[in-house]
Amino acid sequence: MTTTTAEASKRVEATPAARRARRSNRVVKFWTALGLLVSAAFAVLPLLWMFLSSLKPNTEILKNPPSLFTSLSSFSAYKHLFNDPSQLDAFRDSYIIAITVTLLTIIIAVCAGFALSRCDFPGKPVVTTVVIGVQSVPPISLVIPYLGLMTTLGLYDSYTGLILTHIVLTFPYAIVMMTAYFDTLPRTLDEAARMDGASSLRILWQILLPISLPGVVSVGVYTFMLSWNEFLFALMLTKQNVRTVPIRISLFIGQNAVDWQGMFAMSIIGSVPVLLLFLAFQRYFLGGLTAGSVKG
C-alpha cells in the first residue's frame, strides 16, 4: 500500500469510521511487526548464544562481561566429541532406540488407527476413550513398577527395555493422530475394494497406506522426537550399557567444573537429527500434529 493510493482512497471514502479503522490498521501493523521480532528474539537468541558458546573456550564462555562474537575459533569441543567414545556411544544408542521406537510405533498406530477408523465392533467407544485416556498416565507413576518389572525380566539397562517403555509414551498419541488421519480419507475407497472381496489387510496395505504417507510421516517425526528427547525412563532404567544423548548431556551438569563448551557442542550435535527431521517434514508434521488435538 503506497501513500498515494492510501491518500486517494482516503479522499474517496473519508467517513470518520473508515479513517479511524485505517489509522488503527497501520498502528496494528507496526505493533505486529515489532511483536514478531520480539517473539523471534525470545525464542532464538538463547539458542544462538548456545551455538556461539560451543565455539568458545571455557575461559571465554565465563568471561564477565560476556563476549558475544570474540574468539569463535575453537572447534576443539567438536573435535573432542568425535574422538570421545563415551559421547559417540550415546549417539549410537539414541539412534538405535529412537529409530526402532519410531518404526514399531508406526506399525502399532497404523494397525490400531485402521481398526478405530474403519471397523465397527463392540467395545469401540471404550477402546477409543481408553486410548485418549492413557495419554494422561504419568511416567513418574510407571517408573517405580517398571524398575521392578525390568529387573525381573532381565531388561534393565538394555535396548529392549528402554524401547518398550518409550513405546508406552508414544503409542497413544500416535494412534489418535493416525485415526484422525484415516478419518479424513473417504470410506468409498475401501468399500469399493471390500465389495470386490479384498481383505482388510489388503485394503490397509494397498489402498489406504499409500495415500496416508503424510499422516505416517507426521506420526514418525513426532515419535522420533519424543523418543530422542526422553529423559526419565532413560535415567531410571539404564545405567552403563545403554546411555542416550540426553542422559550423556545431563552428566556434564553434574560435574564440579562444568565443561560448558563440551556440553554445548554435544547439545548442538544432539539436536541435529530432530531439527533436520522437523525442517524437512515441517508441513506434514504440523498438519498431522494438529489433526490429533484440533479436528477440522
Binding site: 479503522a21 517473539s39 508406552v168 515441517q282 484440533v294
Partner: protein, 320 residues
C-alpha cells in the same frame, strides 16, 4: 494399480444378506478389528494396566522392591497415605505442583495464543510467515536436558548473561542467583518451562486460527470494530474449544513434570521448587521408601485421570 490388484483376485460371489450372513460378517469384522488392535492392547495391558495395578498395590503394603529379610510383606491399609499427609514436604510439594502447573499453563496459553495471532496477521507474506513460524517453534524441539543446560548457563550467578543484560539496562540484579534463592527459584523454573513449552500450544492455536473465516473478520472490520472487539467476538469463540482442550492436556502434563525441575534445581533450594513428581522420585530412589513413593505416584495418577475425563469430554466437544 489398485484396480489391477482387485481384478486379479478371483471373483467372490456376492454375499447373501441374510441375518446369519450379517452376523457372521460382523463377527468377522470384530475379530479383524481386535486383531489389528492386539499390539496396542497388549502394550496397554502389559506395560500400563499391570504396572499401574502394581504401583497401587505397593502403596498399600509395608515395603516393596528392596528386600527386608525376616519381615514379611503385608498389607498396611492407608498407612502410606497417612504418612504422606503428615509429611510437610509432601504437603508443600502439592502446592508447588499446583503453582508450577497453573502458572505454566496460563503463560503457555498467553504466549502460544499471542504468537499465533501475530503469525496469523496479514502483515507477513507467505515466506516470512513460514520463517518466523519455524524460528518461534525452535525451543520446543530441543530436549529438556539441553534447555536446562542452556538456561543454567545463561542464569549463572556472577558471570551470567541474563544478569549482565538486566544490569546493563539498569536493573539491580547483579549477584542474583535466580535458581539458588527461595524467592526467585519457582518463578525462574516456571519461566524456563514456559520458554520450552509454548510452541506446542502455538501450533494448535495456529491451526485453529486457520479455521476462522477471513471474511467474517473483514466484515466486522468494515463495521468499525476494533482489533480487540474483533478478537473477542469473532476469533475467540472459534478458538475457545481448542484452547480449553489444550489447557487441560497441558495442565495434565505440567502436573507430572519431572525433568525440568529435577535438572534445574532438584527441588531446591530448601524444597522451594519441590513438586510431586520430584518428591516421588527422591522418596523412591534416594530414600528407598518405595511404598510412600508409590502412594505419591498414585495420587499424581489419580489427579491425572480425573483431568483426563475432562480432556476426553473437551475433545468430544471439538469433534462435534
Amino acid at each position: 494399480m489398485t484396480q489391477a490388484t482387485v481384478q486379479s483376485r478371483p471373483a467372490v460371489p456376492p454375499q447373501v444378506t441374510t441375518v446369519v450372513g450379517k452376523r457372521r460378517r460382523s463377527l468377522r469384522q470384530t475379530l479383524t478389528a481386535y486383531l489389528f488392535l492386539s499390539p496396542s492392547l497388549l502394550i496397554m495391558i502389559g506395560l500400563m494396566f499391570i504396572p499401574i495395578g502394581t504401583v497401587i498395590y505397593y502403596s498399600f503394603i509395608n515395603y516393596a522392591i528392596v528386600d527386608r529379610p525376616g519381615r514379611p510383606q503385608h498389607l498396611v491399609g492407608l498407612f502410606n497415605y497417612r504418612q504422606l499427609f503428615q509429611d510437610p514436604n509432601f504437603l508443600s510439594s502439592v502446592w508447588h505442583t499446583l503453582t508450577f502447573a497453573i502458572a505454566s499453563v496460563a503463560f503457555h496459553l498467553l504466549l502460544g495464543l499471542g504468537f499465533a495471532l501475530l503469525l496469523n496477521s496479514e502483515v507477513l507474506g507467505r515466506v516470512a510467515k513460514g520463517m518466523f513460524r519455524t524460528l518461534i517453534i525452535l525451543p520446543w524441539l530441543f530436549t529438556i536436558t539441553i534447555v536446562v543446560a542452556l538456561w543454567r548457563y545463561l542464569l549463572l550467578d556472577p558471570n551470567g548473561v541474563v544478569n549482565f543484560l538486566l544490569h546493563s539496562v539498569g536493573l539491580p540484579t547483579q549477584g542474583l542467583a535466580w535458581l539458588g534463592q527461595t524467592n526467585t527459584a519457582m518463578a525462574t523454573v516456571i519461566f524456563v518451562n514456559v520458554w520450552a513449552g509454548y510452541p506446542f500450544f502455538m501450533i494448535s492455536m495456529l491451526a485453529g486460527l486457520q479455521g476462522v473465516s477471513g471474511e467474517l473478520g473483514e466484515a466486522s472490520q468494515i463495521d468499525g470494530a476494533n482489533t480487540l472487539q474483533r478478537f473477542w467476538n469473532v476469533t475467540w469463540p472459534h478458538l475457545r474449544p481448542i484452547a480449553v482442550s489444550m489447557c487441560i492436556l497441558d495442565l495434565i502434563w505440567n502436573l507430572q513434570n519431572f525433568a525440568t525441575i529435577f535438572l534445574l534445581t532438584g527441588g531446591g533450594p530448601v524444597n522451594s521448587t519441590n513438586v510431586l513428581a520430584n518428591y516421588t522420585y527422591t522418596t523412591a530412589f534416594f530414600n528407598q521408601d518405595y511404598t510412600a513413593a508409590a502412594g505419591s505416584a498414585v495420587i499424581i495418577l489419580a489427579i491425572s485421570l480425573v483431568l483426563a475425563v475432562f480432556y476426553a469430554r473437551s475433545r468430544r466437544a471439538l469433534d462435534r
